[in-house]
C-alpha cells in the first residue's frame, strides 16, 4: 500500500442538504486522481434520519478500506445486522429510504425560506 504523507478525510454527512440551488462538491470525485489520499465518510443518521441506528460508512481506496476494516473489527465492532438490513442496502431498507432525502429536504427548505428569507 502506498503511504501518502497526508490523508484527507472528508465528512460529507450533510452532502444532500444544500439549499438555494447549491451543489455539493464531493472529494470522492477526485479520488481517482489522488488514489489513497481521500477518504469520504457518510452517515445514515443524518441522511436518512436513522439516528441511533449506528450506521455509517467510509469510501476510500480498497487498500485503505481493508486496513480500516481490520482495525475496526478489533476496536469498535461492526454495525448490527438490523441496521444494515434497514439501511439503504437492505432489501427492506431500499424501499424504506427511497424518497426520504427528497422529502426531508423539501420540508427543510420550506422552513428555511420561512425563517430566514426576508
Amino acid at each position: 500500500m502506498r503511504r501518502p504523507g497526508a490523508l484527507l478525510i472528508f465528512d460529507e454527512t450533510y452532502d444532500h442538504f444544500l439549499y438555494g440551488g447549491r451543489r455539493h462538491v464531493s472529494a470522492a470525485a477526485l479520488a481517482t486522481v489522488h488514489p489513497g489520499r481521500v477518504v469520504v465518510t457518510g452517515s445514515a443518521s443524518k441522511t436518512y434520519a436513522m439516528t441511533g441506528w449506528r450506521l455509517g460508512w467510509a469510501l476510500a481506496s480498497p487498500e485503505l478500506v481493508s486496513a480500516m476494516a481490520a482495525y475496526q473489527s478489533h476496536s469498535t465492532s461492526n454495525a448490527s445486522s438490523i441496521s444494515q438490513e434497514a439501511g439503504p442496502g437492505g432489501a427492506d431498507g431500499c424501499r424504506a429510504v427511497a424518497g426520504v432525502v427528497e422529502e426531508m429536504l423539501a420540508h427543510y427548505a420550506r422552513r428555511r425560506e420561512l425563517m430566514v428569507a426576508g
Partner: protein, 360 residues
C-alpha cells in the same frame, strides 16, 4: 391558513402560563429565541433563557414580544459564577438599563435614557439557583427583555439601540399570525391531513414508520448479531452505487467500509498531533478550526511561524520538520454544519498541496 408548530425537542423546553402569556423556558440560542419570538410577535408570549449553564448568548434574560420591551438595570445579581467557575453574565449585560413597560418603540430613547412607562417588572433571583421568576407582570400583555439594540431596531425600536450585535431576523415572520398552534389543540399531522398548510418545525422524518420494518424483519428472523461488514455485500454495493452516482465518482464494493460509527479515541495514536508551526490556513472559508491531540506525550517545542505568502498567492505549506510521526498529524477543517462549503477549486488545491508536500 398557516399553522406554525413549535417543538424544539429540548428536554428542558416547557411552557408556563402566566396569565395569558406562556413563558417558553430553555429555548437555546439567541437567534432561535428571536426568531421564535418574532413569530409570536402579536401573541402574548414571552421567551426566557435564564439558565446560567446554557446562556450562550451572554444575555441573562431575554424576553420579547410585540412592541413591549423590558430590560433591567441591575445586572449585578446576574454577575455570579457557576460551580464550574464560568461567569454567567457577559459584558453585554451591563449595557442594559432598567426600563419599565414601554408602550411603543417611540418610548425608546437610547441607552440609559429610557423612561419607564407603566408598572415595572420585578425579578427575583434565587442565590445559587437558576430559578428566576417574574413576581409581577401584566397579565394581558407580555414582557419583553431583549438584549440587543440591533434586535430592537429589527423589531421597530429606536435607532439609538442599533449598535449591539444581534442576529438578523426574518422580516417574513412579521406577517405571521399569532401562534396558530396555541389556537388549535389539534396536532400538526391531523391539520395537514385536513388540508391546512402547516409548517411544522418539529417535524422529522418518521424513521420508525419507514425504517422500522426494514430492521424488524431481520430481527424476526433472529438476525440480531453484529455482522462483519465484509459479509454485507448488498449494503456495500448499495452505498457504493448511491455515493458513486451522487458524487460523480466510481465506487465499488471494495471501496466501502461500513461501520457503526462509534466515536472512540485511539490509544495507539502516537505523540503530538498539531503544533503552531504546522498549522496551515487555506483561503476562506477553509481554515484551521481546532486542535486535537491524542496520547499523552508532550508537545514539541515551539517554532516560529513561516513567513506569510505574498498577497494573492496561496500560502506555502509550512515546514513541518521531523519532530513527530507524520501519520499522527491532524488537521480539521470546518465541516458542512459550520456553514463552510468547499468549492471544487479549493478541494483541488488541498489535494495538490498534499501531493507537493509528499514529494518534498
Amino acid at each position: 391558513m398557516l399553522a406554525l408548530a413549535v417543538n424544539l425537542g429540548m428536554p428542558q423546553f416547557r411552557v408556563h402560563p402566566v396569565g395569558s402569556a406562556p413563558l417558553l423556558f430553555g429555548v437555546p440560542g439567541e437567534d432561535l429565541r428571536l426568531r421564535w419570538a418574532r413569530a409570536f410577535t402579536r401573541a402574548p408570549v414571552a421567551l426566557m433563557n435564564m439558565s446560567r449553564r446554557t446562556s450562550t448568548s451572554g444575555h441573562p434574560l431575554g424576553l420579547l414580544a410585540g412592541d413591549l420591551f423590558w430590560t433591567m438595570d441591575r445586572p449585578r445579581p446576574f454577575l455570579s459564577t457557576t460551580s464550574s467557575g464560568r461567569r454567567f453574565c457577559s459584558r453585554s449585560c451591563r449595557r442594559f438599563r432598567l426600563i419599565s413597560r414601554v408602550d411603543g418603540p417611540a418610548s425608546l430613547r437610547g441607552r440609559g435614557s429610557l423612561r419607564p412607562v407603566g408598572r415595572p417588572v420585578r425579578l427575583s433571583v434565587a442565590p445559587r439557583s437558576d430559578d428566576v421568576r417574574l413576581r409581577r407582570m401584566d397579565r394581558d400583555q407580555v414582557v419583553l427583555v431583549l438584549a440587543g439594540r440591533k434586535s430592537l431596531r429589527a423589531f421597530g425600536g429606536s435607532p439609538g439601540w442599533e449598535k449591539v450585535t444581534a442576529p438578523r431576523l426574518s422580516r417574513a415572520s412579521r406577517n405571521l399570525a399569532p401562534s396558530a398552534d396555541r389556537a388549535s389543540p389539534v396536532p400538526p399531522p391531523p391539520l395537514a391531513a385536513a388540508g391546512v398548510d402547516v409548517v411544522d418545525f418539529g417535524w422529522e422524518t418518521d424513521f420508525p414508520t419507514r425504517i422500522r420494518p426494514g430492521g424488524g424483519h431481520p430481527a424476526d428472523r433472529g438476525g440480531v448479531t453484529r455482522t462483519p461488514t465484509r459479509r454485507q455485500p448488498a449494503l456495500r454495493d448499495a452505498i457504493a452505487g448511491s455515493n458513486g452516482a451522487s458524487r460523480g465518482a466510481g465506487c465499488a464494493r471494495q471501496n466501502v467500509l461500513v461501520t457503526r460509527a462509534r466515536s472512540r479515541r485511539s490509544s495507539t495514536c502516537a505523540t503530538p498531533v498539531e503544533t503552531k508551526e504546522t498549522r496551515w490556513r487555506c483561503s476562506p472559508p477553509i481554515g484551521s478550526r481546532s486542535r486535537r491531540s491524542c496520547g499523552s506525550a508532550a508537545r514539541p517545542p515551539h517554532r516560529p511561524k513561516p513567513t506569510s505568502a505574498p498577497a494573492g498567492s496561496r500560502p506555502p505549506p509550512p515546514s513541518t520538520g521531523r519532530d513527530g510521526p507524520e501519520r499522527a498529524r491532524h488537521r480539521q477543517f470546518p465541516s458542512n454544519p459550520s456553514g463552510a462549503v468547499i468549492e471544487s477549486d479549493e478541494l483541488a488545491r488541498i489535494l495538490d498541496w498534499c501531493d507537493a508536500r509528499e514529494r518534498s
